[in-house]
Symmetry: C2
Subunit: 333 residues, 2 copies
């Protein structure tokens, strides 16, 4: 008798059984009673406790990403898997999407599995896609298993964070654009995540320091997709002389739009992307992009994970890794 | 007492214990004896059998890819994960690399885990990277768990294959290049996999039908990397008027090389990539590329997986999916 059987016998989904086990507010009292009655009849003990009592390592780590088809996240998962495999650990991979409710459900379900720890890839887990959403759900999860956050910063017990200095590098590169005479800098982002907010704050701080008033029409929230970026610019034709995008695909879209309209890059338009992906090398000219040292972030995360699991010594909860800007053909020096 | 403890007590790696359990030839008789003695002392039963006897579903599928940071494979994993999750199944993800020995070891280790079935993504598992390598290792694995192969065709009990018609589409597009007056067609591939061989066979057949002798210096095995392709062309400066690459990154490298040297595309050079990735949209002009219908292949694979696991009705072992050519700016119509 396992959670799947309980779900079937109760006539509810596994997610609902999971919610009952976690005493979630989202299940009605009536449903809760029905499920608990079935559990009592079947003498069911949730595996998560059984495992906790046995104290045995499962040699498995749960890894959660919003979207594995995203280049950046796929690279992160590849790096993490390699390090886990070296230590004979398995990876249970789950893809949650970006919506708050789905992220919570995926974490809840991962916690039901035989895992020693969880790694959450992407700052979406530390940020918010809606104003009402907070980080309480991962703080709660971290009470059950050690939780490692890549590109997020949540200050709570049993949550270990590794993030890059997005604020400092964004401030710095926006300042350099201004020094080079740019003053209408388009800021493109696809997210309201922790890391996107840091990038935006750096951009805004640089404008403020230079005494430039931010122009609302130049701060745009779009999807991180080459052709949708081109379409957005065709529809809105913003007046800009530089662009700083929080991911490379949007920056490539800007370059494509510029080439289509005969705008000279980098003479009349500077473009900077983020994540230093393969896309940055596909274009002519090649794209200047921020390298946020994903390999170092992932290595650091897995090293700390094994330190926590082995119980050896003090493990710092928060670590920052410094980004660098890779200068290529879409910006002047 | 589990496999990790047996490994530690025997002073060997987990992979070695796994090899002993699978009665592999690669372990010396001496090591085999040592490990088996520890197993006997500890009264150890491999979990794989215990699970087989209990007959209970683990609701987990093992997924093996050579490299998850590859765009194509990451997209496949995203599609598979979504379908598995819809059915409340988990994905145990493992990344094997491309070397025969590593692939065999990863499959052996996955079989030790609590999984209901295995999905192998990428034709490397059905092909060979060395001449001595064959598909016996996956045929053996399929005796233990149903095995689903994406982009490969292995005719054996309990192996279910879904693959695209790479031969037909390659034959067809090479014929069209010849009809358009091209006769020095560069063929770039990064692999000797099942699917790469089919593509090459289609290319060669088209040349043969047109009475064009294949030129060895125009059939090149390189890495699927934009800048390495550019370097290769700079060093070898082959004389060609068209290029057919078995993956988009190589085709983008060819376009970059052409732009650098002022070659007019598609007027004086036609370029065709494969997999219709995001890279194909990053360039100006955009890249003509073969769409091998990955979504359909993955959906079909997971649907058949659940049919096999539920034991409902007859499930065909081999399914072919038709590719299409997405015509863009690097070829004439």
């Amino acid at each position: 008798m396992n959670i799947y059987d309980i779900a079937e016998k109760s006539g509810v989904s596994i997610a609902t059984v999971s919610r009952v086990l976690n005493d979630s507010d989202k299940v009605s009292e009536k449903t809760k009673e029905k499920v608990m009655k079935v559990m009592a009849e079947e003498d069911y003990t949730p595996n998560v406790f059984a495992r906790g009592l046995s104290g045995e390592s499962t040699h498995t780590v749960g890894v959660l990403v919003p979207d594995i088809s995203d280049n950046y996240m796929a690279r992160a998962v590849a790096l993490i898997e390699r390090r886990l495999h070296e230590k004979d650990y398995n990876m249970l991979l789950s893809c949650s999407g970006f919506r708050a409710e789905e992220k919570e459900e995926h974490i809840r379900m991962l916690l039901e599995e035989r895992i020693d720890a969880m790694i959450l890839v992407g700052s979406t887990y530390a940020g918010s896609d809606t104003k009402s959403h907070n980080t309480g759900y991962i703080e709660k999860a971290a009470q059950k298993k050690p939780l490692f956050l890549i590109n997020g910063d949540v200050d709570a017990e049993n949550i270990f964070c590794t993030f890059s200095n997005d604020y400092a590098v964004s401030l710095d590169l926006t300042k350099k654009l201004i020094e080079n005479g740019r003053n209408r800098i388009l800021f493109l982002t696809d997210s309201e995540s922790y890391s996107a907010k840091k990038k935006k704050a750096g951009y805004e701080k640089a404008l403020e320091e230079a005494g430039i008033a931010p122009i609302p029409s130049l701060i745009c929230h779009i999807r991180n997709n080459i052709d949708e970026t081109v379409s957005y610019l065709e529809e809105n034709h913003p007046d800009f002389d530089a662009c700083f995008a929080t991911d490379d695909a949007m920056a490539v879209g800007v370059l494509k739009y510029a080439m289509k309209h005969g705008v000279s890059v980098p003479k009349d338009l500077s473009i900077i992307g983020y994540n230093n992906s393969e896309l940055a090398l596909a274009t002519t000219p090649e794209l200047t992009s921020v390298d946020n040292k994903l390999e170092k972030i992932c290595d650091d995360t897995v090293i700390r994970l094994f330190s926590v699991l082995s119980g050896n010594g003090f493990v710092p909860r928060r670590t920052s890794v410094a980004c660098t800007v890779v200068q290529r053909g879409t910006t002047n020096h």
